[in-house]
């Protein structure tokens, strides 16, 4: 790992100032960034830890919306969202392993937008709003393809506001080595419709499966998915599965998520 200056601000304002500097990089839980730095694939000169900012931590509920501070570790979401948004809590409780969940944060996860990460599926399926150090971004605008987001240089996520669905479930099929999602599907049913977001499967990162949303809006049952085809032309083929296999998983897991959501 290349060396750097480590700083740990205590406010969003201070963090924003530090991240405006040359070569500065935000550090959240570090569970992805640090292995990358060990391989010398990232070389920030200043690393700005966001985990000391109290206003970026914790959960709050108001008017049907659950807001999660960006620096909230997965383990806290798993425990504290269990009553208000159980599907989100279950997703958080299935990321990595217990030690990873005590460090990794929602902000770090969605800012990185790993195509196999779990959180982007929840954010997109819930139609959440990503709140940053500069603005509010709708989930549909935030994710812009593999490892790419709407975040600008120096901008960082401060919280995520989730509209709480009537019913929801996340079903993940583990990549056997990394335990990231080989494919994961988050299904959320709202009064106004159904949103289905898929992670792990596409070369373009997390995406919504529009045909399934339309079918499920008419009938929120696994059977409603019968006959739907999944286009595998943009799906990932790697050691752990072909595009066709992932397309199959999208369909199978969506059905299982609908059944699990009840």
């Amino acid at each position: 790992m290349f060396d750097f200056e480590f700083v740990k601000p205590s406010s969003i304002v201070e963090a924003a100032r530090l991240l405006g500097g040359e070569g500065a990089q935000a550090l959240s839980g570090g569970q992805t960034l640090m292995p990358t730095m060990k391989q010398r694939l990232a070389a920030p000169s200043v690393l700005v830890s966001l985990t000391g900012i109290a206003e970026m931590k914790g959960l709050s509920v108001a008017a049907g919306t659950l807001t999660v501070g960006a620096a909230t570790p997965h383990a806290v979401v798993a425990a504290e969202a269990a009553r208000v948004f159980p599907a989100l809590a279950a997703l958080a409780g299935g990321i990595g392993d217990p030690a990873v969940r005590n460090r990794g944060t929602i902000g770090g996860s969605i800012a990185n937008n790993d195509p196999s990460a779990c959180y982007p599926a929840a954010v997109l399926a819930s139609g959440a709003t990503v709140v940053t150090s500069k603005r509010r971004i709708a989930a549909d605008d935030f994710f812009q393809g593999m490892f790419s987001t709407a975040l600008e240089e120096g901008e960082f996520v401060t919280s995520v506001a989730f509209p709480i669905p009537e019913k929801a479930a996340y079903v993940k099929f583990n990549q056997p080595a990394s335990r990231f999602a080989l494919t994961g599907v988050f299904v959320a049913k709202f009064a106004g419709g159904v949103r289905v977001a898929v992670t792990g499967a596409s070369n373009n990162g997390v995406f919504r499966w529009a045909e399934a949303e339309a079918a499920l809006a008419k009938s929120f049952t696994a059977d409603a998915l019968q006959g739907l085809g999944v286009d595998d032309s943009d799906m990932i083929t790697d050691l752990h599965g072909t595009a066709a296999y992932r397309a199959n998983l999208v369909k199978v897991l969506t059905g299982r998520a609908v059944s699990a959501a009840g």
Binding site: D3, F4, G30, Q39, A99, V100
Partner: protein
């Protein structure tokens, strides 16, 4: 170099570190606490698990400066005050839950955290909880058995 201070196994400690110094390096090289091991470089194997403010973390994926001021517990702090093995450690010995011993400190620290949160885990919960700790020797059988026994529950397996 920056001065960093924290509490390790109940004792205040401090030392000089770089920005890139990992918690595990501070523990092993700075403090000579070599019970915490490094088995991988991708935050997967769990040999380096310690507790920071009561929660298990992978000390190879935490910068020392990021946990300044925290209370850290390592495998060296797990025995009883008189030096005898604690209940969980004793269960690992009684049930042959270790062979080469390299993953063992991480296994014990992870398992201790589980039992603190969930004093009566099911077999499935134990296995799920240990997903971030890799052992190549035991096939996990006796580790799971040791954790279940340490929780005071009867164990169905031989």
């Amino acid at each position: 170099m920056t001065q960093v201070s924290m509490t390790v196994n109940g004792k205040p400690v401090s030392g000089e570190v770089e920005g890139r110094t990992l918690l595990v390096q501070f523990l092993r090289e700075g403090l000579g606490l070599t019970g915490t091991h490094v088995g991988c470089d991708t935050s997967q194997c769990g040999a380096c698990v310690v507790h920071v403010d009561g929660k298990p973390v992978k000390s190879c994926t935490v910068f020392a400066q990021d946990v300044a001021g925290s209370s850290v517990k390592t495998i060296e702090g797990m025995a009883n005050a008189d030096g005898s093995l604690g209940t969980l450690q004793q269960a690992f010995q009684d049930h042959h839950g270790l062979q080469c011993g390299f993953c063992t400190p991480g296994m014990v620290m992870s398992s201790a955290a589980l039992l603190a949160d969930n004093p009566n885990p099911t077999e499935a919960e134990v296995r799920h909880h240990l997903e971030g700790n890799i052992c190549r020797c035991t096939g996990y059988h006796n580790i799971v058995k040791a954790v279940l026994t340490a929780s005071g529950q009867p164990v169905a397996a031989e």
